[in-house]
Point group: C2
């Protein structure tokens, strides 16, 4: 298993990407890594680190895409960018998967451009794991597509369903549609039409789910358009951060607050571990011909490590093949859209 | 100041509504209340309670709208429902404002039907306060309108702006548009068009705001369509609840967790107070000819008490007049939509 890592992608690259790669090589025997990016910088980061030389490779790329660059220009003009070179390795079958914590719009666009959408897929989507009281659920689309048709949401559901089955060995995932009321008459034009398509599908569709219920863990796959998905994801991230800040402030202000804080520190640490995006390591792009994992721009070396593992597993379990099969199986059903 | 309270509205009515009304009467000298609903039930709840008799009135209504009833049927058929009778008191100027913790869709529809939209307002909207690290911000629309045009969002912004100025004495509120990136090119078709309208308005428009930044407290008014607003509101509510549950679970599992929990209990209480919806008391319907406050279905007597205060203040400060002026001022601007 060989994974191409965009060594220059992310707020703390190449330091954390190289560190994450080295840790992964030393931990897992079955992953080889190609660090793609500016060779001198990568070599500088590697100096002094110990790792099996034959399993860590460098592929030089002379350009880097900044986090805030206009996506279109970066895709068109930077033909020698680290993210592009990394995806090219997948296309030429010199790597099995690609991981990038860089500009997510550019990573998506280049993956789609070079690898192509899976047969029958109109729009690839991002699938993010979100923690709940029980096991995490898959939010799809988490930000790839802003204006969607009902058919797109149906495909997001089919892809999320196949991903959940193949990746997490869940034989019959519970699929829900994010809306503003449980009844099928509640929602906007898009969700009301999508509801019918999901109800007629062969998936285990459990109906609409409201924002307040997604974290209960009753749905395995939650479907929405990418605009809403991104807002839900970012709002949750922001709120969780603010709640912890507010709580710490309140604790600091009460008598014995400092002692309480010290006593509960291990609990806070466990809580953080369970809710930290770094634990999930990255979000796969569903519906392209290959394995592409998008990581958080603020990825730590741990997040990179976990993203590399997700990439390896996604590829090994042939998740993108399962997605193509799911989409094709739906296409041939009588009465399908 | 006289407020009509839908005594039968909410999950715990009429017990908590009557209790909230009595507490309010005893606390505030300038609010009179009309309890609207089933007279025998209300009298039963009142028995044994002490309050100035001349400031608490009962208006009998023979019907009650259930929380899960189809809205359209309830509006059309239940001509003697408590919520309808309560709104009628505002229409006939026998009350200055109405508060309901019942079926919010029905409360909105009846308010619009009986009181009418303010001049120039195409669609009234719900404005909810959400806590942040600094002062709370106004989320508008929080759920009244699911499929919106750019002009509707512009009006939500104008109404939120006027509400913030008149109600919270904020001379120049910072207005932001909820989207998926800060640049004006980011967003969906609706927000991109709305962005232009807001930029051309005379409001202090600070641009797009992402989900992760709304809780930082940098915007005073955050604008979005009601589908997204409702999802943001409910997701935040659900997440905050789950975070507290997860934290408590983690605290219970570490050594000395119990002691830590006891020591930090006052802090948790303060935190809850700052984030509890009950403290905000209810969300006004902006853009109708009158004062209508929608409260949470799970309202406690404290939430009812605060909603009654919000209603009284909203009416006293003539917020709905300020909204009409804001909408009219925009209409006459050259080049306005």
């Amino acid at each position: 298993m060989k994974v191409a890592l965009d060594a220059m992608g992310g707020d703390f690259a190449p330091a954390v990407t190289v560190e994450g790669a080295v840790e992964t090589i030393n931990e897992s025997e079955d992953i080889d890594i190609v660090l793609v990016g500016d060779e001198p910088s990568i070599k500088r980061e590697l100096s002094g680190k110990r790792f099996p030389l034959n399993r860590l490779h460098i592929k030089h790329a002379s350009q880097t895409v900044g986090m805030d660059e206009p996506a279109l220009a970066a895709v068109r003009k930077k033909k020698d960018s680290s993210i592009r070179k990394a995806v090219e390795l997948v296309r030429s079958q010199d790597a099995d998967a690609v991981v990038s914590a860089g500009h997510s719009g550019v990573a998506m666009a280049i993956s789609l451009l070079l690898l192509g959408a899976s047969k029958g897929v109109e729009r690839p989507a991002i699938a993010t794991l979100m923690p709940t009281l029980k096991r995490p659920f898959i939010l799809v689309d988490a930000g790839a597509n802003v204006d969607c048709a009902p058919k797109n949401l149906l495909q997001f559901a089919l892809m999320g369903n196949a991903y959940c089955r193949a990746m997490f060995s869940n034989p019959e995932p519970k699929v829900a549609l994010l809306s503003i009321g449980e009844e099928d008459t509640k929602g906007n034009l898009l969700t009301k039409e999508t509801f019918k398509l999901l109800k007629d599908s062969e998936m285990r569709f459990i109906g609409n789910i409201e924002g307040k219920d997604i974290f209960s863990g009753d749905a395995d796959v939650v479907v929405c358009d990418g605009f809403i998905g991104n807002i839900v994801l970012k709002t949750s991230e922001g709120l969780a951060e603010v709640i912890m800040k507010m709580l710490k402030r309140e604790i600091a202000e009460v008598a014995a607050g400092r002692i309480a804080y010290l006593l509960m520190k291990p609990a806070l640490k466990n809580f953080k571990k369970k809710t930290d995006y770094a634990e999930y390591g990255g979000a796969p792009l569903l519906g392209i011909n290959g394995t592409c994992i998008i990581s958080h721009g603020r990825s730590s070396s741990k997040a990179i490590r976990n993203a590399l593992k997700v990439a390896s597993e996604f590829s090994r379990k042939k998740v993108y093949g399962a997605i193509t099969e799911e989409i094709e199986a739906y296409q041939v059903r009588p009465g399908s859209v």
